[in-house]
C-alpha cells in the first residue's frame, strides 16, 4: 500500500474537530476519489497527508499517516514532497506573478541538477502543449483551464509517487472538466503515479476512479470500488439530490416531514 491513513483525527485551533477517525488507503498506481459535500472534511484529509494543516492552525491529533510504510505525521510539507507526495491545491493557486516556466522551476527546488530540471520542463511542455504556447505570459493571466494544467504540471515537476488533487474541476467549463479528467487518467495510467482525488462532482470522479470513499461531516460514510459505489442507491440519493428517482424523494420527504415538522 502506498498510502495508508489509520484512524486519523484532525483538530483546528485546538478546538474544532474537522476529521474524525478516518482510515483511507491508496494502493500503488491506484486512482482513489474522496467524495462529499462542501466542508465535509475532504480537503482537510488531503492537507493532513501533505502536511499543509499547519498554516491553517490545524494538526493531526490522533492516528497515523503511513507513506510507503513510513509514518510521516511529524514531517514538514517539503520533506513529504521529497518523499513523493504532492498536493494540487483547491483553486489551483499558481504563482500568478511568475511565468509558467518559472512556476515549473520553482517547483523543482529539490532537484540539484539543472539539466534534469530542463528535461522535466520539456516533458511538461510536451504533456501540456498549451502551456508551452504561453510560457512567457504571467501565470495569473492564464485561463482557468490553463491554470489547472499548470498546477498539475507544477506538481509533476516534483516527480511524485502520489498526486493529490483537490477539486480539479472547480469552476471549469464542462468540456474542460473532461479534458482535465482525461489528463488525470493518463498520468495515472502512463506514468504510474498514484492519484488521490477530491471531488464534489461525484459522478465525474467515479467515472475515472478505481475506488472511492464517501466523506460526510468528517467521517467516512462508505468506501469501496467505484463500481460498487456507483451502484449504491444511497450514493445516488446523497450526491444527486434525489433528482432522478422521484419515488426516493417521496419516501425521504415523507420521513423528513415526520421528523422535522411533527
Amino acid at each position: 500500500m502506498l498510502l495508508a491513513l489509520n484512524n486519523v483525527e484532525v483538530v483546528y485551533d485546538r478546538v474544532f474537530l474537522a476529521v474524525k477517525g478516518v482510515s483511507i488507503e491508496v494502493p500503488d498506481r491506484g486512482l482513489v476519489a474522496l467524495l462529499g459535500a462542501n466542508g465535509a472534511g475532504k480537503s482537510t484529509i488531503l492537507k493532513s497527508i501533505s502536511g499543509l494543516l499547519k498554516p491553517e492552525r490545524g494538526e493531526v491529533s490522533r492516528g497515523e499517516v503511513l507513506f510507503n510504510g513510513q509514518p510521516i505525521v511529524n514531517l514538514d510539507p517539503p520533506e513529504r514532497v521529497r518523499m513523493g507526495i504532492v498536493h494540487v491545491l483547491e483553486g489551483r493557486r499558481v504563482f500568478g506573478q511568475l511565468t509558467p516556466a518559472e512556476n515549473l522551476i520553482a517547483a523543482a527546488s529539490m532537484h540539484k541538477d539543472r539539466g534534469h530540471v530542463n528535461a522535466l520542463m520539456d516533458k511538461m511542455f510536451t504533456l501540456f502543449p498549451r502551456l508551452a504556447q504561453r510560457a512567457k505570459a504571467k501565470a495569473g493571466y492564464l485561463s482557468g483551464g490553463e491554470q489547472q494544467m499548470l498546477a498539475i504540471a507544477r506538481a509533476l515537476m516534483t516527480e511524485p509517487k502520489l498526486l493529490m488533487l483537490d477539486e480539479p474541476s472547480l469552476g471549469l467549463a464542462p468540456f474542460l472538466v473532461d479534458e482535465i479528467f482525461d489528463i488525470i487518467s493518463r498520468i495515472n495510467a502512463e506514468q504510474g503515479v498514484s492519484v488521490l482525488l477530491v471531488e464534489q462532482n461525484a459522478i465525474a470522479a467515479l467515472d475515472v476512479a478505481d475506488s472511492a470513499y464517501l466523506i460526510e461531516n468528517g467521517r467516512i460514510l462508505m468506501g469501496g470500488s467505484a463500481e460498487m459505489l456507483k451502484s449504491n442507491p444511497d450514493v445516488a440519493e446523497a450526491y444527486l439530490g434525489g433528482s432522478h428517482q422521484s419515488d426516493y424523494h417521496a419516501v425521504k420527504h415523507y420521513r423528513r416531514r415526520k421528523r422535522w415538522l411533527a
Binding site: 469552476g171 464542462p174 468540456f175 465525474a204 439530490g241 433528482s243
Partner: protein, 277 residues
C-alpha cells in the same frame, strides 16, 4: 405545525426583492451576466448552482458589498442598487455567511446582541453615563435576545466564547444573530454546509419556523438538494453567472441543462444512455 414544504407562492403576494439584469465582473471575469429574479413575500427561495456560478456574488450584490456594474436591485419597492451594506441592513435585510462570520473573542450572547444594533442607539457618551443612559436600552434589548436564544435553543452556550462552540452551533448562533435583527428578508448562504443529518434537520426546522412565526421572507443558498427540495418554494439555478433554470425545485433541477451544468456532464451522458445509478 402545518406548513407544507411544497407551498407554492401565491401570485398575489407582493414582491420583496427584484434583481433586474444584474451584471458584475471582477477583473476580466464576468461573475454575473444579466441575472433577473423576483422574490415574493413569505417565500423560501432557493439559489443553487455549482461552485463559482455566482450565487454568493449575487447575494453580495444584493447586500451592497459589490455594487453591480449594471442593473438595479429593488427591495420592498425601493431602489437599493448603490446603497452601503449597513444602510441596506436598516431596510430590513439580514444575512449569514458561507464561511461563518462570527465575532471571535466575544461571547455567544454578545455576538447575538450585536444583531440588535439597528434597533439600539449606540453612543460614546451614552456608554460614559451608563447608569443614566445605556442601561435601560441594554436591558430591553437583552430580553429580545433571550427570546431568540430560547427559540434557537442556545441557552447552554450563552456565555461561552463563540470560537469555543462547535461548528454546527456556531452556524446556529449566526442564524440567531441574523434573526434577532427582526429582518423582513433573510439571506442564508449555505447554512448547512458541513453539517450532519441531525444538525441539518435542526436548521431546516428553524428556517421554516422563522418563516412561519416571524413572517420572514428567506433566500437560501444550499448544496444539499434534499433540503432544497424539501423546504424551498421556488429555486433559481445559476451557472457561470446566468440563470439556467427556475421554478418549483424538483422540476427545476431535473431539467437537462441543470444536470449538465450542475450534476455533471458525464452523469448526463450516462443518464441518456440509461445507465443505472
Amino acid at each position: 405545525m402545518s406548513t407544507s414544504p411544497t407551498m407554492m407562492p401565491t401570485p398575489q403576494k407582493p414582491i420583496v426583492l427584484t434583481c433586474h439584469d444584474i451584471e458584475r465582473s471582477f477583473g476580466g471575469l464576468k461573475a454575473l451576466k444579466g441575472v433577473s429574479l423576483n422574490v415574493h413575500e413569505g417565500e423560501i427561495f432557493g439559489l443553487v448552482g455549482p461552485n463559482g456560478s455566482g450565487k454568493t456574488t449575487l447575494v453580495n450584490v444584493v447586500t451592497g458589498f459589490y455594487p453591480p456594474n449594471q442593473g438595479t436591485i429593488t427591495l420592498f419597492g425601493e431602489n437599493i442598487t448603490h446603497i452601503e451594506p449597513h444602510q441596506i441592513a436598516r431596510r430590513g435585510i439580514a444575512r449569514t455567511f458561507q464561511n461563518l462570520a462570527l465575532f471571535k473573542g466575544m461571547s455567544v450572547l454578545d455576538n447575538i446582541l450585536i444583531g440588535r444594533h439597528i434597533h439600539m442607539h449606540p453612543s460614546a457618551l451614552g456608554s460614559f453615563f451608563y447608569w443614566w443612559g445605556a442601561q435601560k436600552e441594554e436591558l430591553a434589548n437583552r430580553r429580545i435576545v433571550e427570546e431568540i436564544i430560547e427559540f434557537m435553543q442556545l441557552q447552554d452556550i450563552r456565555d461561552e466564547p463563540v470560537e469555543a462552540v462547535p461548528l454546527g452551533l456556531q452556524k446556529r448562533v449566526e442564524l440567531a444573530r441574523a434573526l434577532v435583527a427582526e429582518p423582513r428578508f433573510l439571506i442564508l448562504d449555505e447554512p448547512m454546509a458541513g453539517m450532519n443529518q441531525e444538525e441539518k434537520e435542526y436548521i431546516a426546522r428553524f428556517i421554516l419556523d422563522a418563516r412561519e412565526e416571524r413572517g420572514v421572507t428567506i433566500l437560501i443558498i444550499e448544496h444539499h438538494m434534499d433540503v432544497v427540495t424539501a423546504i424551498c418554494d421556488r429555486i433559481v439555478v445559476l451557472s457561470y453567472g446566468e440563470i439556467i433554470a427556475e421554478g418549483e425545485p424538483r422540476q427545476a433541477i431535473s431539467q437537462p441543462q441543470v444536470i449538465k451544468a450542475y450534476i455533471g456532464e458525464r452523469a448526463a451522458q450516462r443518464q441518456m444512455k440509461g445507465a443505472a445509478i
